[in-house]
């Protein structure tokens, strides 16, 4: 039984079958990649996992609990964090403040009215945030507005913000899309480090095969809304169906 | 039944004014992404174009009539418009009588130039600024425009009549088989309704069937891509702003005989037309028109005695109440697109 179980999920948009009978099981403490050509339904699947979309049929269970119909913040409180294709960070806030917010969220839950306390006095939170920034090598930039960081650093910060909540499952949506090679490698290294150092399950949706094969332990290939194969990276590499799917994409 | 038909007629008429202003607002918002609080002022300036033309036609030479006296007991100065002098009293009188329809021609170049000047001189610098700044600067502009009008024309309404043939009303009910006097409707309001329909149809046709319109629509959907295609979309948007200003101005010109223009009529319409735009859905032209007519008709129904006796004061709040209900049931208004003005 995996930490995340997707069973018989179907989703239609008008006449388009976006997802058809998707079954997926992500085992605990593994890195599981979901790949597939454009329009294969990767984003739709991801949106079903984090509550943004509700599938027409089927179930999505996280640690035995359904995530369907829950609000994004509830899903996050269950232990799922999400990294977006373009880094979603608090651009108007400083790097340190960015890092403090998930730690507050972890401590205080979805809402707490701490209107008259001073955030400067939250030493414990600040310490944790600073430690995290140190891990990410961002401590020098902690008083900078996060909007003015480089794209690679924004990505590091976003991943760090997710990790600060010590989630059980980290969902990454094309984490290196639009990045320079060096930034991509940095991100790969960071994710490897996370995988090695933490008890965490990572599900990653990715286009870049270099990233996928450097990280993944299991790979699911989606094509036209349905899983084509699921196997280890080694087996996927030479799989004829996968080649076909990707070649089909090139032909189109 | 007759009462309902009557109120639908009234509502369509009110609705056409809302729809015309909302259409212009949406054109500006959809193409340029600017929230234009000065749009009501453009409507008002349109109405004052009609007033101005009427005044120009009435520029007179003075003769002194010794046989009569003015209020101070001095000999009376009699004014005769030059136009009557030149064309004879009959023809001249007819020209003055038709000053409102003639003001349509008069107002178009004025409104388009005002639109160009506004866009090039001010609005252009606010494309990248937050919506709050756009609201503030156009609101400031609206105040300035209406104060300028007030300075020259005073605060009181100025009567601007429709041509003689369109004054009065006809019995619409008799045509439908109701009793006489059941459904009476003024001619000019029918003219206004037809005029609004033509303008709305014209704007849609323009956007739908011309290359210019196609490019603008593409620009509304995705500005960056269109610019990548090497099309100078900015210039077209400037022209769109001029057209939107002209639409608002024409709505104002034709509205002048319905209610005598005054300097704050733009502000009176502004809030309502914003409600209309939002209820229709930000950025949706059909939404703006639909919402304009819908709210106009509902407002008319709410003012019926039968309904007021059940819900006292409902006519005071109906538009806002409907707006709230629609926005709560349809998050982006009737036909709004996702992600527009939501943050």
């Amino acid at each position: 039984m995996g930490i995340l179980e997707v069973k018989n999920v179907n989703k239609r948009f008008g006449g388009l079958q976006a997802l058809g009978d998707v079954n997926l099981s992500v085992a605990e403490n593994t890195v599981h990649a979901i790949i597939g050509p454009n329009g294969a339904g990767k984003s739709t699947l991801l949106n079903c996992l984090i509550g943004k979309l509700i599938p027409d049929t089927g179930s999505v269970m996280f640690q035995g609990q359904s995530v369907l119909g829950r609000k994004p913040y509830e899903i996050n409180q269950m232990g799922i964090s999400r990294v977006f294709q373009t880094p979603e960070i608090f651009g108007d806030l400083t790097v340190l403040e960015n890092m403090m917010i998930p730690i507050f969220a972890k401590r205080d839950g979805v809402f707490r009215m701490h209107a008259l306390e001073s955030s400067h006095n939250e030493n414990e939170i600040i310490d944790q945030a600073e430690a995290m920034l140190e891990d990410l090598n961002l401590q020098d930039q902690r008083h900078m507005h996060s909007a003015s960081m480089s794209r690679g650093n924004k990505r590091r910060l976003e991943i760090g913000m997710c990790l600060a909540q010590t989630p059980k499952l980290l969902l990454l949506d094309e984490p290196t899309a639009g990045m320079a090679r060096a930034d991509t490698n940095n991100t790969i290294d960071l994710l490897k480090q996370i995988k090695d150092e933490r008890d965490i399950t990572i599900a990653i949706i990715e286009h870049d095969m270099h990233v996928v094969f450097s990280l993944a332990e299991r790979i699911t290939v989606l094509a036209q809304g349905s899983p084509l194969v699921e196997d280890t990276p080694e087996n996927i590499k030479g799989h004829p169906k996968v080649r076909e799917a990707y070649l089909g994409e090139t032909a189109a | 039944m007759d009462a309902i038909i009557l109120q639908i007629l009234n509502g369509l008429d009110k609705g056409s004014a809302y729809a015309l202003i909302a259409l212009g607002l949406t054109l500006i918002f959809g193409t340029l992404g600017v929230v234009n609080f000065a749009h009501g002022a453009l409507f008002m300036i349109g109405a004052f174009c009609a007033v101005t033309l009427q005044r120009i036609f009435n520029i007179s030479y003075e003769t002194i009539d010794e046989s009569r006296t003015d209020f101070l007991g001095n000999p009376m100065t009699v004014k005769t418009p030059y136009i009557e002098h030149w064309f004879g009293p009959e023809m001249g009188g007819a020209i003055i009588d038709w000053s409102v329809p003639l003001a349509i021609l008069f107002s178009i170049p004025i409104m388009i130039s005002i639109g160009f000047i506004m866009e090039r001189g001010l609005i252009k610098h606010f494309y990248k600024r937050p919506h709050a700044d756009q609201i503030l600067v156009t609101f400031g502009l609206a105040i300035v425009l209406q104060e300028i009008i007030k300075y020259f024309y005073g605060a009181n309404p100025i009567p601007t009549g429709a041509p003689e043939v369109f004054r009065g009303s006809f019995d619409f009910g008799v045509m439908l088989g109701f009793d006489p006097n059941a459904i009476i409707y003024p001619y000019w309001r029918l003219v206004y309704f037809a005029f609004a329909a033509v303008i709305i149809g014209g704007v849609f046709a323009f956007l739908q069937f011309t290359t210019f319109g196609m490019v603008v629509r593409a620009g509304m959907a995705d500005r960056e891509t269109v610019q990548l295609l090497g099309i100078n979309i900015d210039k077209r948007f400037t022209i769109m702003f001029g057209i939107a200003a002209a639409v608002a101005g024409l709505a104002g010109v034709m509205y002048a005989p319905i209610n005598s223009p005054n300097y704050h009529m733009g502000m009176d319409f502004l809030v309502l037309s914003f409600v209309v735009v939002v209820v229709g859905g930000m950025g949706s032209l059909p939404g703006a028109v639909l919402a304009g007519f819908l709210l106009g008709v509902l407002e008319s129904f709410a003012s019926m005695n039968e309904i007021k006796s059940i819900l006292p004061g409902i006519d005071q709040i109906i538009i806002y109440l409907v707006a709230i209900i629609i926005l709560l049931t349809r998050p982006r208004g009737l036909m709004g697109r996702k992600g527009v003005m939501e943050d």
């Binding site: - | 700044d133 409600v275 709230i324 998050p331 982006r332 939501e342």
Partner: protein, 400 residues
Amino acid sequence: MLGLNKRDFSLLLIVAILALCAPFLLNPFPADSAMAQFNAGYPDLMQRFVIFGIFAIGFNILFGLTGYLSFGHAAFLGVGSYSAVWMFKLLSMNVIPAILLSVVVAGLFSLLIGFISLRRSGIYFSILTLAFAQMSFNLAYSVLTPITNGETGLQLTLDDPRILGVSRTEDGSIPVTNFFGLEMRDTYEMIVGPWSFQFNNGYYLCAVLMLLSFYIAIRIFRSPFGMMLRAIKSNNTRMTYTGLNARPYALAAFVISGMYAGLAGGLLASMDPLAGAERMQWTASGEVVLMTILGGAGTLIGPVLGAGFIKYFENIFSKINDSVLHSWFSFMPDGLENLLVTLVHPFVGKGWHLTLGLLFMLVVIFLPGGLVEGGQRIARLFRRKKPDDAKKSTQSTPAE
């Protein structure tokens, strides 16, 4: 100090000193001079400065921090005023219960409206708040007249059934609002040479409450809660995917700012026991938006500056008439005097709206951050001068 860091504390201190010395600072011109027209140090206007300052500070907690632009905040101010006047009519002329009730009622009202309106964001939220406020105004003006006294505004009368206190004083007039016996309208006069300064009880009560409001606003800005509100404005998506529910945060901010508006409304009624329906009109809501943006949204001091700016215009510029203009320019030759009067005339007196509109445009065009940015630019100008001088001297040395 007081849980504030040094910078915030010195800001609070400066505001406190300005507020307490306002009677001096706002009356810089001798009472008999021509410039006395520009003096703003009389009780009514000073009260308005701080009361609308409170209103704008509260509005800024919502708009400046969360970015939610409410176009209906005047409704809470109006509701606060009505509650306060009713308290005067029914309970006591002491301002404390009236102010408390107005804050509570405005808080409840904003809870209701906020709960519904915050289901939408962006302009849809703005229009929802606008719709609620306009409904409140239209109803208060018409069918709710038994509660609001409609057009005239709710006033005290000689036969109010006041539980604690008398309906009328011995000399047959309506009793005066007071703070445990200290009458709100009492004023000290202080004469220094040709200057005169007025110290009004009501003003000082308002000023103290404004300082308290300002202090609380600073605390909120610097609190984790404030950080959450800024996070909503900055990136709502990340906020929810961080396990935080943005809606209760925004609602809390909405209610707090509604209570600030209620406090302002209650104070307005305490200074002058009348509550007019126009206080709830959209133009009044728009005014607080203008104050906040004009001063600098999201800054601490900006809204107070913006409020002062607009109220100053409304009360000082509207009173400059042609005969005042003539008296200013009377030292000039007749022709020049008349020319100047003609030139200035459209912008003052009945033309004060025109000047205000022009100034809005100028401020927004040239100072996107509002008056605060203007202040910062001036400060930077002075600060930059010194290093520049220093640089020049060091550069010139090697050339010798």
